[in-house]
């Protein structure tokens, strides 16, 4: 019944520590070439990285907006120290800017003002969505572990509160956050003495089991899936449930190509099988997964949704 509503393609924030020039050039290309409607910008994982992008942020914002895309600023996912709190305060303090809250401190600071809620806030049910909506939430990106049965149950009540629902459909899945930096630990350092060593792994540092099976990917204080989420086969079903926004999480692969594939499948210009072939052609160094969506172990890949 909601099949006719406009489907937005969104680009989540870069979660990794990319060199500022790479970061800038990535967004320039996204601005110019990627068929995405919303671009989330800002440091979500580690407060220490945020100043690295200060110099290039204004030109990135200008280029993205000039291309007719909406900019939303994402806040830190884990907020504890004075520096982390100050960073969230600074981002939330931008007058008129649209902010995505990723923790309770940002929810508090954005109360009474229209805002987005990011996937790091636990919004699993209609009761939570109603509270977030009365505090100003207009769009909520659901936790990545939500199964489709729950997503289907949530979209209607969310729409009744005036909230758009967003679901991540591509990229490594955020699985956990910690106070400890695991990149620093792997290099014999601590969070305070890290020397930004996370910049060596632009898609995350792979952890392998004792059987040498790739398992997880470390990104500073964040732990992610090794497998790449691929819900291309589910986007039409999600749209029918009432999901209005589809989030691509940036990686070093050709994200413009990824965005085009998702846009074309959403628009019915390309069928799902052909779209899957295009994603397979990215030749990622990791398998795909969709298990959370199908209600199974997250690492599994069903392809069922591709039928």
């Amino acid at each position: 019944m909601n099949g006719n509503i406009a489907s937005e393609l969104t680009l989540g924030p870069v979660l990794f520590n990319w060199a500022p020039e790479r970061w800038r050039d990535f967004y320039f290309r996204v601005a110019d070439e990627a068929p995405v409607d919303v671009v989330y910008l800002g440091e979500v994982v580690c407060y220490k990285r945020a100043p690295l992008f200060d110099d290039v942020m204004p030109e990135v914002v200008a280029r993205v907006q000039a291309a007719g895309k909406t900019v939303v600023y994402s806040t830190l996912a884990e907020v504890m120290s004075k520096q982390e709190r100050t960073l969230v305060e600074d981002v939330c303090g931008c007058d008129g800017a649209l902010i995505e809250a990723n923790d309770g401190s940002a929810l508090m600071r954005l109360r009474g003002r229209p805002h987005h809620v990011g996937p790091f806030v636990n919004a699993y049910n209609e009761g939570t969505v109603a509270v977030l909506a009365r505090n100003g939430a207009r769009s909520i990106c659901l936790p990545p572990e939500m199964p489709k049965t729950a997503i289907a149950n949530l979209c209607g009540p969310a729409a009744e509160c005036g909230v758009m629902t967003e679901v991540q459909v591509f990229g490594r899945v955020p699985l956990a956050l910690s106070a400890r930096c695991y990149h620093a630990r792997a290099h014999g350092r601590t969070k305070d003495t890290c020397q930004f060593v996370c910049d060596t792994d632009p898609d995350g540092m792979v952890l392998r089991t004792l059987e040498d099976r790739p398992f997880l990917a470390v990104n500073g204080i964040q732990t992610m899936s090794h497998a790449f989420l691929n819900l291309l086969g589910g986007v039409r079903e999600l749209r029918a449930m009432g999901v209005s926004s589809f989030r691509l999480s940036p990686h070093t692969c050709d994200m413009v190509a990824v965005a085009r594939t998702f846009r074309d499948v959403l628009d019915g210009k390309v069928d799902i099988g052909e779209g899957q072939a295009q994603l397979a052609a990215l030749a990622l160094d990791a398998p795909f997964c969709d298990g959370f969506y199908t209600g199974n172990a997250g690492q599994t890949w069903s392809r069922a949704a591709a039928q």
């Binding site: 884990e78 636990n122 109603a130 505090n135 956050l177 695991y182 290099h187 997880l216 732990t223």
Partner: protein
């Protein structure tokens, strides 16, 4: 030296028998959960039927101990009714507080049962004054259970900026990931810590011994650790596992070694920092564990109140880890 206020010793009760044991051993409060997904220790053979909860509240109250009911998981849309029932039961049963994590559950409790005292579970992951104030102002939360990631100095600083009480873990198993924000178990097993209340469920745990008597532990399909003959094998949880990566020449504990938390030597510092409730982990543990740990901390706290020095309580034989740690509490180098 400032005078110490008598803290509340909050103890685990996985079963009615463990609850009686904890109360008899000197617990000021016990916390427990129902036999379903509404709490974060949803393990087979554990927890309370509604009638057992009623009897247990009567037992505890007759001995001046409080009962706190953990309703601290996150209902997925379509399943909210089970959590609503748990909150209604908490109110009917006369428990002294419900420990909640989900915003929707907290909102329901605050609106439907305004006299039910609410504590914010560690699962809510509220680690800053602003986040804690959100729950206090929205739902009238009276106490926050702090994530196990703050130093004592940071707790003291936090205490000055919030109006609610602070409860902190002092002993037991520690996960390495921020509570309420970890889907690692779900990624491997299909059961979610947040939605189903399980972490590393026993049904998915496998132990395999080879001919050389090397023991491999597995969760689902993934090897978590391996132990030579004679080494004591830990229970396989993903954040305590051994892995390899490009930055290390040998497999290593990428997140943390199998340690458990013991803050017995830091109790006076914690109390001076503004912690008014001291929490012992272990609802999944035996009555013997409950009896030993609760008794030890009861006499430690009583000793402090009588002016005795804090002493490290060696309880290593009771823990799940192979050594004890003060974790994040002792300083920032842990991070």
């Amino acid at each position: 030296m400032s005078e110490l206020r008598r803290p509340e010793l909050v103890c685990p009760a996985g079963t009615p028998a463990a609850l009686r044991t904890a109360v008899d051993a000197g617990a000021d409060a016990v916390y427990c959960g129902l036999q379903n997904e509404t709490n974060a220790r949803n393990f087979p053979g554990l927890n309370f039927a509604p009638a057992e909860l009623k009897q247990s509240v009567a037992y505890a109250h007759a001995r001046k101990a409080k009962v706190l009911l953990a309703v601290n998981t996150f209902p997925a849309a379509g399943k909210f009714g089970m959590w609503r029932d748990a909150i209604d039961l908490a109110a009917e049963t006369g428990v002294d507080a419900a420990i909640v994590a989900d915003i929707g559950v907290a909102d329901y409790a605050a609106r439907q049962h305004p006299n039910l005292r609410l504590h914010l579970s560690v699962q809510a992951g509220a680690s800053s004054p602003e986040a804690i104030r959100f729950y206090c102002e929205e739902f009238g939360v009276k106490r926050v259970v702090l994530p196990r990631m703050l130093t004592v100095a940071e707790i003291a600083d936090l205490h000055r900026q919030i109006d609610c009480e602070i409860e902190a873990f002092i002993f037991g198993n520690i996960g390495m990931m921020a509570e309420g924000r970890c889907s690692l178990t779900h990624y491997v097993t299909g059961l979610s810590t947040n939605m189903d209340g399980v972490c590393s469920p026993a049904a998915d745990v496998h132990y395999e011994e080879d001919t050389g008597r090397t023991l491999t532990t597995r969760l689902g399909e993934f090897v978590i650790d391996r132990f030579a003959c004679g080494e004591s094998a830990g229970y396989p949880t993903i954040c305590k596992g051994r892995y390899s990566c490009s930055a290390q020449t040998e497999p290593y504990y990428a997140f943390e070694e199998p340690v458990s938390l013991n803050l017995s030597a830091l109790l006076p510092e914690l109390m001076r920092a503004g912690v008014t409730a001291l929490k012992i982990e272990g609802r999944q543990r035996s009555r013997a564990y409950v009896k030993s740990v609760v008794s030890a901390f009861r006499s430690a706290v009583d000793g402090l109140m009588q002016g005795r020095e804090a002493a490290f309580l060696s309880l290593l034989t009771l823990t799940e880890g192979s050594r004890e740690t003060q974790g994040a509490f002792a300083g920032k180098r842990w991070r």
